[in-house]
Subunit: 330 residues, 2 copies
């Protein structure tokens, strides 16, 4: 009997359904899901040899959600792959659901169709970033909630702590992103949030963290509202690509020796690129909802989809969600 049932949105992502089909096969062939079943949520045409890949099944759903579909519209498209996948999480027909599709639609369906965990008001996007000394750090909220209240930071903390434990960090240190480390600095929102976290004995709150320390090792979980978090995340991405692009330009314009230097440094530059590409790292969860919901990047190729399936499997195997509930139930 299969241990877990991991759903994947057949229609999610720029390269879907091709990337999703190949990604599922990639996951099976690389033994990413062991004793579990991968369920392709979409139209079950003869797209996969399910005789050969016995771990792959289908769940009927239609391709209805575009990138331009608004979250509120998505909630009306009950036959869409995203709706069906999130509903199956709620009904326990799936243990996890992975989608590289429309983020807003997925967050809306996760919240309103899958439903929230007991005691959690605000599910949030939680994401692992690489850091100095190869230590991971969790950013919550990375973009689900554009407007938040101070008390939501407690939910974000519980979600981030559970993710950090999943990444092997015991007793994770929790900080709040702010424009200064002194107590009187920043917005009313973060000051009130800090007071709430200070009074929670189960949360190892370490204070305000400035964005220039975002890759430092003095914290494990960084909390912020979804507007700031998403901007910070995209700033990291924009800065990394800008720096690598400028370096490439400078090498292109350089003489023979510069080009030789670049050639000799090629493997260092390549490992650097993969290191700062957080998409390859950890995974992005929508935490606080019923079931494991993984957001894969829109531009995911087959390997990235395979990795997202693997992330979902590991989260189930290590009971990531129980960690949120246990923390909360006091």
């Amino acid at each position: 009997m299969s241990k877990f049932r991991i759903g994947i949105d057949l229609y999610g992502g720029d390269n879907a359904p091709d990337s999703v089909i190949k990604g599922a096969i990639f996951a099976v062939e690389n033994k990413f899901v062991k004793d579990s079943t991968i369920v392709l949520v979409g139209d079950k045409k003869d797209i996969i040899d399910t005789e050969k890949y016995k771990q792959i099944e289908f769940m009927d759903a239609e391709n209805l959600i575009k990138n331009s579909t608004k979250p509120t519209e998505a909630l009306k498209l009950k036959n869409s792959s995203i709706y069906i996948g999130c509903e199956a999480l709620k009904n326990k027909k799936l243990d996890a659901f992975v989608s590289a599709g429309n983020t807003g639609a997925l967050l809306a369906a996760g919240t309103f169709v899958s439903g929230r965990l007991k005691g959690i008001k605000r599910p949030a996007l939680a994401l692992a970033l690489p850091g100095k000394q190869n230590k991971p750090r969790i950013l919550v909220d990375a973009g689900a909630n554009a407007e938040v209240k101070p008390e939501h930071f407690k939910d974000f903390a519980l979600e981030g702590i559970a993710y950090a434990k999943f990444m092997g960090i015991s007793n994770p240190r929790v900080g709040i992103l702010n424009i200064g480390t002194e107590e009187e600095k920043g917005s009313a929102l973060v000051k009130e949030a800090a007071n709430i976290l200070k009074s929670e004995k189960k949360i190892n709150y370490v204070g305000f963290i400035e964005a220039r320390e975002i890759f430092d090792v003095n914290f494990d979980v960084l909390l912020t509202d979804g507007f700031t978090g998403n901007n910070v995340l995209k700033t990291i991405e924009g800065t990394a690509y800008y720096i690598l692009g400028e370096l490439k330009d400078s090498i292109k314009k350089g003489g023979l020796f510069t080009k030789l230097g670049a050639l000799l440094l090629k493997s260092s530059l390549y490992s650097l690129k993969s290191k700062i590409d957080y998409r390859q790292y950890g995974g992005t969860f929508f935490l606080g909802v019923n079931g494991i919901l993984v957001k894969a990047h829109g531009s995911s190729d087959a390997e990235a989809i395979g990795n997202a399936i693997y992330v979902a499997y590991r989260a189930l195997d290590q009971k990531l969600i129980d960690n949120i509930e246990v923390n909360e139930g006091v």
Copy 2:
């Protein structure tokens, strides 16, 4: 007769007063201020040979503001170099004032002692960042106002446009930082701000900009609240240092050929470092107040102080402030 009187806070910065004294001399020796006078705001001990450097004068003030001094406290320290410098702006005893000191104290004194320009409710920190194709871009607010209202984005736009023109950009394109480019994305704040800017015929508003485009060439002025802006700015800094640090580590751990490669690429890496170091670039103004107020980085050395004095001179010479008032006066 001297054209402009440019004040510099003798006690501002980690390396003050030494860096400030040497910075003033650096500016004079490099002819940064031509026909103008540099006024050291602080105690006039025999620290400079004013016979030799006739362009340098003193204005009496005391060293009272520490990094830990709160803005509200700073406003009571009327003999401090920051208070005296900002007061001199208001009384036209100085045309510009430069400080590498306590940012919060400087912003408070700028707003409440120097006073605001007519029609401007919210002065803001405006900063030039480098970008692709060597094109500058202006970020407003980079950290002065942690909480803002939609209508303050108009002030930020006027301030940013004036700075962009000072950087040689005609008809600057103004965008608002948001977590998506679609009109329905983001917080209520940015959506309302967008509606206000759309109705301003004198503002060339081009829509929402995502942070991953922050170095792209599709806009010239990027508006955001001071909380987000400061976090974005420090994220750029943190990411740049992280990437360069990881590259350095990887070279250190590499073999002989890797080290040779790094040696051959040295000038490219060096030019990259200076390119992404925004502290060397443009300058940071507190715009919207009476007079040119330049914030130099706390860790400024003599050369950085000299450059900040030069930035103040150019802003006066090119009438940066008139651009804000002319824009506003309709």
